[in-house]
């Protein structure tokens, strides 16, 4: 699905994120909840008001999972199988929400990295994350 060049671009993007999983992840969630308030319903179990600590913790967890996906671009299904089970059986996040998260992810990267985040990197990253979303929702039915 991803060409060799696209994989290289994805790896390049990850290099810019690695080490900042918590802060990028927290900002990702903050933007998601601010721009698309309906997405908050999936986090009610974490408490009524997601404070900074929770955003950092959960954001880090999510971005670490993205890191796993980056390491296993050749075999996303196997690498993400436990997460796919979780999403299908427990979380059951409506598939329409993944593009919203992806949009916010692009905005986080664009606003932080600016010039370093090229058009090609955006294209490859979008394709990659869309593939991850497909895998995470594949076991829904």
């Amino acid at each position: 699905m991803l060409s060799a060049q696209e994989r290289a671009q994805v790896a390049q993007v990850w290099d810019l994120i690695a080490g900042h999983e918590a802060s990028f992840g927290a900002e990702l969630l903050l933007r998601l909840f601010t721009v698309y308030p309906s997405t908050k319903i999936y986090f009610k179990h974490l408490g009524l008001c997601l404070d900074e600590t929770q955003l950092l913790t959960h954001g880090q967890r999510m971005l670490e999972a993205v890191g796993v996906a980056v390491q296993h671009m050749d075999n996303l299904r196997a690498a993400l199988s436990p997460l796919a089970d979780l999403h299908a059986q427990v979380l059951r996040v409506d598939p329409s929400n993944f593009p919203l998260l992806i949009q916010c992810f692009q905005v986080v990267l664009a606003s932080h990295l600016q010039g370093e985040f090229t058009v090609e990197m955006q294209a490859a990253w979008d394709k990659f994350l869309t593939g991850v979303a497909v895998v995470l929702t594949e076991k829904y039915r």
Partner: protein, 147 residues
């Protein structure tokens, strides 16, 4: 109908005043064609769209991008009246251009990314939220007259 608070309007208008419509327009359209290549279907007459650099450097892409973004600037001036503002353009996109309304959402999202790219940290979650609301409103307005 979309309702914008005073804060949202202020955020949108003040940022827009600092947007170089010519530059940003070309970049937005270019990015759309690169990130979502199937959108190139509407631009067969634009010449070389064979690579990222060809697209981003294509003069027709830049010119058309400027046209599109200038039109978008109208939305910023008429945030309370998007449906009427874009009624004629909606008919055009349906009857003459035959554009799937899904593309308006894609373009809107790319515009938001480009603004984030240009304005960096200034493009806060609140500013992003206001702009996502505007682009969604424009997308709906452009789809409104489809039949």
């Amino acid at each position: 109908m979309v309702h914008f608070t005073a804060e949202e309007k202020a955020a949108v208008v003040s940022l827009w005043a600092r947007v170089n419509v010519e530059l940003v327009g070309g970049e937005v359209l270019g990015r759309l064609l690169v990130v979502y290549p199937w959108t190139q279907r509407f631009f067969d007459s634009f010449g070389n769209l064979s690579s990222e650099s060809a697209i981003m450097g294509n003069p027709k892409v830049k010119a058309h991008g400027k046209k599109v973004l200038t039109s978008f600037g109208n939305a910023v001036k008429h945030m309370d009246d998007l449906k009427d503002t874009f009624a004629k353009l909606s008919e055009l996109h349906c009857d003459k251009l035959h554009v799937d309304p899904e593309n308006f959402k894609l373009l809107g999202n790319v515009l938001v990314c480009v603004l984030a790219h240009h304005f960096g940290k200034e493009f806060t979650p609140q500013v992003q939220a206001a702009y996502q609301k505007v682009v969604a409103g424009v997308a709906n307005a452009l789809a409104h007259k489809y039949h």
